[in-house]
């Protein structure tokens, strides 16, 4: 247990994070790597689920369970529904021809990665592990989240709810021809 990686001691939490985070990253690669649209969607489901588990390990249980309810339970089911209805007939239709644009795209993607990494990595190097106090352990629970949501962020919360209501009404208006 005294081994370290780059000054960070290896704890069970770190190992758990490594396993779950690694699996989540693999799933994220799978989303773009699979030729079959349903498998890509499934990879996204697993990725969202593992992300929720990561939130749990960070004591943010409310955020994690909301992630599962909203993304894994509702939105991804709709995704799968649409993908299955479209029935994209195997990998042949999705096969891409060799294209010079691909090379430029990869180059630009790498450039973006380097720029973002140069900004973020120096900040991340300075992060130090924090002591977990009982108050901190509760910050992700439903009580704490609810309290901040209805006191400090009451106005944005109501604004978002109005926005969602507009979204629902708009989608009904689009979907129904005769009202």
């Amino acid at each position: 247990m005294n081994q370290t990686i780059g000054g960070v001691p290896i704890t069970p939490e770190l190992m758990l994070f490594g396993v779950i985070g690694g699996a989540a990253a693999l799933c994220a690669v799978g989303v773009v790597a699979f030729n079959n649209a349903v498998r890509s969607a499934l990879c996204l489901v697993v990725n969202f689920f593992l992300l929720a588990v990561l939130y749990f390990t960070l004591n943010a249980e409310m955020l994690g369970i909301t992630q599962v309810v909203v993304y894994t339970g509702a939105i991804m089911v709709l995704f799968l529904f649409v993908v299955m209805l479209l029935n994209l007939g195997g990998s042949k239709m999705l096969h891409e021809k060799p294209d010079p644009k691909k090379f430029v795209g990869i180059l630009l993607g790498c450039a973006l990665f380097v720029i973002l990494g140069a900004q973020i990595l120096p900040q991340l190097m300075q992060v130090k592990p924090m002591e977990l106090t009982p108050e901190l352990a509760k910050y992700g629970g439903p009580q704490a989240v609810g309290r901040t949501l209805f006191t400090e962020y009451a106005y944005p919360f109501e604004a978002v709810s109005v926005l969602l209501l507009i979204g629902i009404v708009g989608s009904i208006l689009l979907a129904k021809r005769r009202i």
């Binding site: 498998r39 249980e61 894994t72 509702a74 089911v77 299955m84």
Partner: protein, 438 residues
Amino acid sequence: MADFVQHLHPAWQALIRVICFVLPSFLLVPMVIWWERRLLAWMQDRIGPNRVGNITFSRSSHLIPSILKGKKFRLFGLMQPMADFAKLIFKEDITPTAVDRLIYFIAPALALFPALAIGATVPWGPFPWITPVADVNIGILYIMAVSSFGVYGIVLAGYASDNKFSLMGGLRSSAQLISYELAMGMSLACIVMSTGSLKPSAMVTAQSAPLWGLDYPPFNLIQNWNVLTPYGLVAAIIFGICMIAENNRPPFDLPEAENELVAGYHTEYSSVKFATFFMAEYLGMVVYGIILSTVFLGGWHLLPIRFDWMATNYKNAGDIWNLLDTLNGSSLLAPVWVILKTCCVASTYIWIRGTLPRLRYDQLMSLGWKSLLPFATANLVVVAIWIVASKVASPLIGWVAVLISAFILFGLYKAINRLNTKNRPNLASRTITMVDTP
């Protein structure tokens, strides 16, 4: 026992907790299958499976001891599920060539996963050292989250089978589960609001308070089971309907409607893979029964009577009341009461199956969206009004406010409904007139 378990390593404790929940619910599955077949047979004036397990000893053989000669031992067909399972295991396991292999194989496992995982936050007794598996702050949300996984097994089975009927079954089930999840969440939210906690164990504790929050006789003789309160009754009925729909049981078994879709999503599945789907359905039935009895039916209490209040107020018979109180809710019999209630809920499932014909698809959708969801939402408003009125004034005034608001909301719903259906042909309900020909 409690001390021994509490001093074990947390990993062992977790394992014990999981086994103590999963094993009994798994053991209930063959029982429920047998009970369903027998009860349905009784309701339909048949006999049902009553033979497997019966032994009749020979009258004339020399190998049989003379006491047993000609004796009959009946087991009422209780071994039938075992025989069924043996049949399913030894059947030929056919995998059609056109299936999407990976998804085809993981779909039954995905169908079983939510049924196994959903009960992790539900307690089955007043023993915090062993139950529930995890007494987390997000208990009810966890139930909602895991129950939403139920759709994946069915949808993926339908997709992977490469069969039009299966695909239709999968699509139907995804639409059905999404629709009924909303009303289910709303009905659970009512109880969350009235309890003030998301923990199922806190809900059980809250249900042993005096009835309707009124602390004088005759009300404080009776426990405040959620099903005994007006809003709780409405929520319990809505939750019960949604639970059957989530579980794809008749009359909501459109994903496997055999007269339209062969067998729906499991048309291409045989042998153990079919048995897994079958087990998932019945395990879901058991576990949803446990959830319903915990959230609405008082959890591990047998009767909604407050024996502890009697013990403090009728001191000359205090010992008897204390004994009854222990038997009612805090002895080792508590899990038995939970299982008893679960069996009652399972019997209701079967009763509904034996009574109602399968819904048509448009009826299913209009029931979910136009009846259950508005009622559950109105119920939520009523609960909110009750909480405010009983906190500000007194519980009695709270109930008056509940009555008034319920009437207003019901009138509003009727008015909107009338405005909506005015000058429109009613397509949701059609009637057939039977003509008696002489």
